[in-house]
Symmetry: D2
Amino acid sequence: MKKDFINEDWSEVVVIVLERNATEKQIENVIKHLEDYGFSVHKSTGVEQIVLGAIGVQPNFDSRKISIIDGVLQVHRITEPFKLASRTFQKENSVLKIKNVELGGVAIPVIAGPCSVESEEQMMTIAEIVKNAGAKILRGGAFKPRTSPYSFQGLGEEGLKLLRKAGDEYELAVVTEVMESGQIEIVEKYSDIIQIGARNMQNFSLLRELGKTQKPIMLKRGMAATVEDWLMSAEYILASGNKHVFLCERGIRTFETYTRNTFDVSAIPVVHKRSHLPVAADPSHATGLRDKVVPMARAAVAAGADAIMVEVHHDPEKALSDGPQALLPKQFEDMMKQLKAIAEVIGRTM
Amino acid sequence: MKKDFINEDWSEVVVIVLERNATEKQIENVIKHLEDYGFSVHKSTGVEQIVLGAIGVQPNFDSRKISIIDGVLQVHRITEPFKLASRTFQKENSVLKIKNVELGGVAIPVIAGPCSVESEEQMMTIAEIVKNAGAKILRGGAFKPRTSPYSFQGLGEEGLKLLRKAGDEYELAVVTEVMESGQIEIVEKYSDIIQIGARNMQNFSLLRELGKTQKPIMLKRGMAATVEDWLMSAEYILASGNKHVFLCERGIRTFETYTRNTFDVSAIPVVHKRSHLPVAADPSHATGLRDKVVPMARAAVAAGADAIMVEVHHDPEKALSDGPQALLPKQFEDMMKQLKAIAEVIGRTM
Amino acid sequence: MKKDFINEDWSEVVVIVLERNATEKQIENVIKHLEDYGFSVHKSTGVEQIVLGAIGVQPNFDSRKISIIDGVLQVHRITEPFKLASRTFQKENSVLKIKNVELGGVAIPVIAGPCSVESEEQMMTIAEIVKNAGAKILRGGAFKPRTSPYSFQGLGEEGLKLLRKAGDEYELAVVTEVMESGQIEIVEKYSDIIQIGARNMQNFSLLRELGKTQKPIMLKRGMAATVEDWLMSAEYILASGNKHVFLCERGIRTFETYTRNTFDVSAIPVVHKRSHLPVAADPSHATGLRDKVVPMARAAVAAGADAIMVEVHHDPEKALSDGPQALLPKQFEDMMKQLKAIAEVIGRTM
Amino acid sequence: MKKDFINEDWSEVVVIVLERNATEKQIENVIKHLEDYGFSVHKSTGVEQIVLGAIGVQPNFDSRKISIIDGVLQVHRITEPFKLASRTFQKENSVLKIKNVELGGVAIPVIAGPCSVESEEQMMTIAEIVKNAGAKILRGGAFKPRTSPYSFQGLGEEGLKLLRKAGDEYELAVVTEVMESGQIEIVEKYSDIIQIGARNMQNFSLLRELGKTQKPIMLKRGMAATVEDWLMSAEYILASGNKHVFLCERGIRTFETYTRNTFDVSAIPVVHKRSHLPVAADPSHATGLRDKVVPMARAAVAAGADAIMVEVHHDPEKALSDGPQALLPKQFEDMMKQLKAIAEVIGRTM
């Protein structure tokens, strides 16, 4: 049995609106329940409505428990459900140091590389290209979460070795994805940053285990995750002991089908308002189409992203996965120049 | 009875996948139906599947008519449902001339002003502010579509006069919204551009009527509209005779509730790919929160928007509608400088 | 200039959570603003957080006005934004009498007929079929809101006459859609119920005008409308003077593309909880596919719908619109027997 | 390195629409690429458009590879991306035997029990209640995926033992959730069915591992999963060797916030059309509110669900998780009578 985390110094605020015709007895019953749950209750009587405010030490109270009591019209949970990830808890931006790269400060590092690690030649070629254009971190998947069981699933440890070798050769930090707890040990050995993919954003077992390492974690947003859900998943890692977390926006699922996902650029300033954690942006997965990647990378920098991650391939027609969204080397170089110029407009560097 | 538009030179392509165990008789029946509908049919036989391709002069054929015939597994309509709005139909960008403003060319005009016209003093004050900071077009609502019947509904014709007066005084073109056909005549008299709001994007009666004027139309995207729906609504106006149309992205409805809507920045390059019509962006309505407007305006320019529309108010706390999303004068000035610098990065001007 | 509605006896409740480190001066400033807006304010001080409750006569207060004041972390508007449509305002179910049909009571009337009125023979044939199978109301579109300007747009007044004639001949009440204010007079003359389509649910001009008639109104849910938006649109009609309103669920837009829309069956009990207005269900438009209509009609009755609307056509392959979602006569008859049996399980009749 | 699955007898159909002004050279280049990828190509020339049809042995071909070649306007992938889960592959319904319960046949078993296993007394009390009312399978969570790290995380193996004991005592099959590969062995030991939760629907590592067992798997739909994604996840399990799979609809995430999720009742007939796998429905998680559970359970049976899963608790105010959505014993009994009567209307039993 796993122990729950406890946050004793965390108060909870709930507001209860009573039905217009609630009886005195019903009102007393609601108040009694709230007090039994450990809240102190304040009652406000308006022209037509009675409202109860309840404040108490009840972390993550399920407010629906009150909503089913007779006489209750609505219950509003006021407190943010996360704490360690909250801007209220820490005013200053978190800045992560990853080898010689700073993420969350004034500079905006670019993470680039192929979707999947395919071969030594491929990794060396691409690492050189992205390094020369100014990237600071090399990406490459060794364990691939593929929607179809019939698609290429990645090279595994062999891929991790090639990624590390290319990173070392070109003095780039490296990032790769982990898909299950059993892979953490080996990925930790080879990678500077561990990525949690969108489909695992609420794999709570994995989040807990990653909380026990001290590696920087890049937590991608789930396709159906609100910003609040996303910060709750970050809270899992933080509460488990690892403070080195940054987020990565990669598109959400909406009714629009022309793009693979809808890139929620506004999530960038929203995260900055609500949390001290840095937030990166991945326009490659968000759009799924090469010719949309560059304008969306520019938009993300303009909106305040703390890092940009894009896929680059020197021969995308032959790529084993996601070739159509990979930038060509020349496109990547041109993009880097534009991003640098836009960063400067808002007082940042690359 | 209204006459339907006809596009005789518009071919339609439909692909039909048959069930694996479809009988010869069923296949013949499907082909017969297609030929009766006026298609010429090509049959391709694969290892396990038979596929029919149908090409013919059948504008806006309802492909579900085929999907319900026995033996049919899937039907795919291949042709784009719009024509006049399509990049296939017109390769070059449409450029609109609105008084001395060009929209859709290299320059990116900024449209600014209050949500609602409230008084002469208000309009004159705000027009001066936005003119001095570099705006080219003045906005202001006289007929307001409000979710609640109890909210301020606009000044009507009085508001139109004040908008016109402020525009003339500060040499700004003006734009305002029309909510129903009965208002077109009067709005046409006072305004240089007529806005169709998000909630009226599929008010087809209104689209048809606006197609009969020659005023430039700004067509906002509906909250649940795909890019294809949106271009279909533009097609209504174009097919009715008015070629002066531009689009305006203003956010779509998604599961995310922290922002009022999700600003679909990627719709900008998507529209540019599929259509020759210019596309503006309105970050004020998309986000609903002042502190998100500036980063999202920057993102829209970086993504290639052809115009930016923002709300500005000199005293937003007293605004009769949407004050909380209006920029303060100083914020607007600072934003204009940033937008100009970003425009230059991508070879455009302001 | 249109006058706003006023509801003097309607109190508004807003809850404000202050930032942890809000200064005394900031708190005073927030309270002063609230009092200036006419609220009486209650302050609750918890272990770590200060919460203000504000109650006052401020119908449809824009709570974002408070959220932008320094020191404010969150603002929650507690009061429901609608009143006349609310279950709080009227405890008992509204029951509409439409000719000899009751809608909102124990019996569940079925509304059936073709998508579009096409000819006298068609209307007479279908009216006889649906009457014999137990339908109480005949549907048929004369003014058609079509996504494409190139699709059939309806017969106009000629269609209204045919609908009326078929209704009279078979003693069925009739319903048809109105697309703009200019059509109200003529539709009112021929139809027993006026339908507002999904795309016009927030055509506020039209809602206001329909509020001036005394005809029963069927208000379809917009594709991107929350239940709250939908009830706000009902409120427009009610506040304008017409109490004879019922709602119709017809599917919302989601990421799922296999069905045309996602039929939100749970909206039926949700509306019953929040409003006294009856709620019908239209599985034909929700799913767009004939073979999904019958199971979804059964689901809607099982969930408590007050009326069911389906499309029926005796020769759907030749239908001028939406043939693929129309039920065949035999399917309709079988469905009617199933719906009747399910209605009885939950104490209702057909 | 994991080996990919191969399906040699699975042909792939892709349709390519060329741009109107595509040159002969471009067209040849597209055809060459398709042939290099192993397709045989058919060219159809229409009035204005050229369309290529490509059929070949290319399972899970990434069609975007073609969409980026010059001269290509659109690419449509025609083949369904799943095979073993498809109705095309197996015409007859799959029927699972779980102890003495049949799932997928005429009878509709009900799965009931608490959200979390809390104590022996709790499990025995609830097992007796649900058994007496006619349930066939007992549910109870031992490993709980909770959004917040501060919420109750389940009793672990102790919970599994209590679930098994209660199942044995009352002759009920049992189902419980597994959150990670490391838990499979122990859950397999105690449970008759293994549940994959919505948040793990695309945890591909877990799906693969469960494919190696022979236990029946209940695969819940992810909140952002299309029916196609969902069937692809089932395909993972089937392709890994476990044929005993059924699905469970539990609501998708939409813009509507009044209910926790939007229960997609229409997914039930859609799955039946596209797949031979049985599909259950869980109205408790879909709605999150007790008073919506019963109408939605009725709707699911009326729509054709093969099993119903609901949460039941004898003392929901004290439940450690999700008490507000648990049915009271009396509500459950009444619901069972209604479900039985509705099942009979459509020729099924309970």
